[in-house]
């Protein structure tokens, strides 16, 4: 694999999107926004102090000593707020930008009729994947790069440890890479970026990653690690977050580690699917081979087992647990079965739309299930 800095696809995006004039403008805008966020953070902290002073004057609480202490803490509070705001903003920009730019990467090239020329070069699928993953959202990475010194200095000044700052960046970048990889895979499944289903898929993926945060109160709390929102509060707040830690085989592990494990494991499967198919013609794409599908189904079952953590106050009975596992396996087999099909073998949306009725829809899904089951 070519080093990313000299990867032709990355170089192309860097050249096109980071011309000197644009780079200076972006850096200047980032600086201005940082100043505005800083002023807002200071105003928010000062406002809190002012409210405390009013309460103190009216009700005698907080006491003068407490007020004095709050005044002393004002710069530090403002810095912490500034740091938190910067980190969440960077996480949001990088995740959103990565997903939406990568989700149009391959389908956009197909639509512009430039994809065939990339496929006839000597670039391997891994080169293309890396170049697009880092190149498509290169402007977002540049924004983060511009923010990094300001965020790091403010974090250290706000008494957030260096390890926490580095860990927060690790989480932000790894989540962006995973989200970008998922977007890239999604875009490889569509012939054209103008198709509504592509946009719906992208929005759905984004919603899943954002809402997966809610898994933390389910019996599979580890799945919340898909969302960077699960681990980031622990890392950007000096006292850490009060959110319960996820479990792996029953043992508690930090959210950062959970997220990294999920990103690496699922990222590896997505990279495998992309590597197999990126240089193939659209009609010949078959995300997984039969044996890979078997491996994927086994992996997902293993993951369910590893992440399962019943609520101690209401452990599930054997019947509901079995039902849950059977339903999950049905979904897993359907998903990996579909992943072994080429586009022309998949159920046609047009056919479903033409007949419309729920019966046809059911029959069609049934066919997929049967075929998927047979293949696996």
């Amino acid at each position: 694999m070519l080093l990313f800095w000299s990867n032709p696809e990355f170089v192309r995006h860097r050249r096109a999107e980071l011309r000197r004039g644009r780079a200076f403008t972006v850096a200047a805008v980032v600086l201005v926004l940082c100043v505005l966020i800083g002023l807002a953070a200071w105003a928010s902290a000062a406002n809190e102090l002012e409210m405390a002073q009013i309460r103190s004057a009216r009700f005698g609480r907080p006491t003068q000593a407490q007020l004095f202490e709050m005044q002393q803490r004002l710069p530090s509070e403002a810095l912490q707020l500034f740091y938190r705001s910067l980190m969440y903003t960077q996480a949001g920009i990088l995740a959103f930008w990565s997903l939406f730019s990568c989700a149009q990467a391959v389908s956009g090239e197909r639509e512009r009729k430039t994809w065939d020329f990339q496929r006839t070069t000597r670039l391997r699928p891994a080169d293309l994947m890396l170049g697009k993953l880092l190149g498509e959202p290169v402007l977002a990475y540049f924004i983060v790069l511009c923010c990094l010194p300001i965020a790091a200095i403010s974090g250290l000044a706000a008494k957030i440890g260096l390890l926490h700052v580095l860990s927060a960046y690790l989480l932000i970048v790894s989540s962006a890479l995973f989200i970008g990889l998922a977007g890239l895979w999604l875009s490889s499944l569509f012939e054209s970026r103008s198709r509504g289903v592509g946009l719906i898929g992208t929005a759905g993926l984004f919603a899943f990653l954002a809402l997966s945060f809610n898994f933390r109160v389910s019996e599979l709390p580890g799945l919340a690690g898909f969302s960077p929102l699960a681990g980031l509060p622990q890392l950007v707040e000096p006292s850490g977050s009060a959110t319960a830690l996820p479990t792996l085989f029953g043992a508690q592990i930090p959210w950062l580690l959970m997220s990294l494990l999920l990103y690496m494991a699922f990222g590896a499967w997505i990279a495998l699917m992309l590597g197999r198919n990126l240089k193939k013609d659209y009609e010949e794409m078959r995300p997984l081979s039969r044996w890979q599908a078997v491996g994927c189904a086994a992996f997902l079952n293993f993951l369910l087992y590893a992440l399962f953590h019943p609520h101690p106050w209401s452990p599930p009975d054997s019947h509901s647990f079995t039902t849950f596992i059977v339903i999950m396996n049905g979904l897993i087999i359907l998903a990996v079965g579909v992943a072994t099909l080429a586009p022309h073998e998949r159920p046609s949306v047009a056919v479903v739309g033409a007949f419309g009725g729920g019966c046809v829809r059911f029959t069609n899904m049934g066919t997929v299930c049967l075929e998927a089951g047979a293949r696996v």
Binding site: R119, T120, K280, D281
Partner: protein, 309 residues
């Protein structure tokens, strides 16, 4: 150089290419002609590795395109009919991208970019954003991209569509010079005049099959054993020239009028030279004497059933 063996491509029930066998030696410019839907584009896409054949084998420079795609790509330059370029790059950046993508060595890239830009006549646009180029210039840039890595084989699918007449002539010159440098060119077109004059061999495709293939002279000779010769002279009457020509048994359909005319001839070039010598020795002052060549269009009209799938 290009070898297609029992190449077949099926799209569901449709057989787009049906057991295609083709061997194109080095230095040939091979014109693949046929109506739309004959299987030309599918054959070219399989040859450059964009499409996997249902069965059969493609070898380019003795490398299996399906088995070793990355190795095969270094020998192949590909250009399709309708394509796009990266509008937000400069001309040299676009070529640099592909030079890197073909894994050319770094010192070689800069020199090669300048060479190719000069070859396609885009020197003054070197540092211009592609967004600002005309359609014809973008087409030339596409050609520059296809030859940036000095491929031994060029696969061109309707390369002249969208080009103005001047650019078409330039393209022909460029292809000739590439052939002179040893490149093998497979070019598909349904505009037959495009191929006239510079293809050395042709293949006629219909319904996924190659109905006729070979060097143009051979195919012409096979199809039209009778050659038509036109002559002009000064001085003598048409009747006296007709008498001289009528003595030769290999001539027929002699049609002379005033100081010129034509006749049909069956035989070798030696025999044709003897006919001319006979006229000269009989003191006919011949000003021109030459065979009327069959055009690719004539051949195609004669050989093709004009059937599409």
């Amino acid at each position: 150089m290009i070898q297609l063996s029992k190449l077949r491509k099926e799209f569901g029930d449709l057989i787009a290419v049906n057991d295609l066998d083709l061997m194109i030696p080095q230095g040939e410019i091979y014109g693949l002609i046929g109506p739309n839907g004959a299987g030309k584009t599918t054959s070219i896409r399989m040859t450059c590795g964009l499409l996997a054949p249902t069965q059969g084998c493609v070898r380019v420079n003795d490398v299996d395109v399906l088995g070793e795609p990355e190795r095969a790509q270094q020998y192949i330059g590909y250009l399709s009919d309708f394509f796009s370029v990266y509008e937000d790059l400069k001309v040299w950046e676009y070529l640099d991208y592909f030079a890197r993508a073909y894994k050319m060595s770094q010192p070689e890239i800069a020199q090669r970019i300048e060479e190719v830009i000069a070859q396609v006549g885009l020197e003054v646009k070197r540092d211009t954003l592609i967004h600002g180029l005309s359609r014809g210039m973008k087409q030339r840039l596409g050609i520059a991209r296809a030859i940036i890595h000095q491929p031994k084989v060029l696969l061109l699918d309707e390369p002249a569509s969208g080009l103005d007449p001047k650019a078409r002539l330039e393209l022909r010159e460029l292809l000739r010079s590439m052939r002179d440098q040893g490149a093998t060119i497979l070019i598909s077109s349904h505009i037959l005049t495009e191929l006239e004059g510079f293809c050395t061999s042709i293949g006629i495709m219909e319904k996924g099959r190659l109905v006729r293939t070979g060097r143009i002279e051979e195919v012409t000779a096979e199809e039209t054993p009778t050659r038509i010769v036109r002559l002009r002279w000064v001085g003598d009457s048409a009747e006296s020239v007709r008498r001289i020509l009528a003595e030769r048994l290999e001539l027929s359909n002699i049609s002379l009028d005033g100081n010129g005319g034509s006749f049909h001839f069956v035989g070798s070039d030696d025999l044709l030279a003897q006919v001319l010598a006979t006229l000269v020795s009989a003191n006919v002052r011949v000003t021109s004497f030459g065979e009327i060549k069959q055009t690719v269009e004539d051949l195609y009209m004669k050989l093709s059933q004009h059937e599409v799938m």
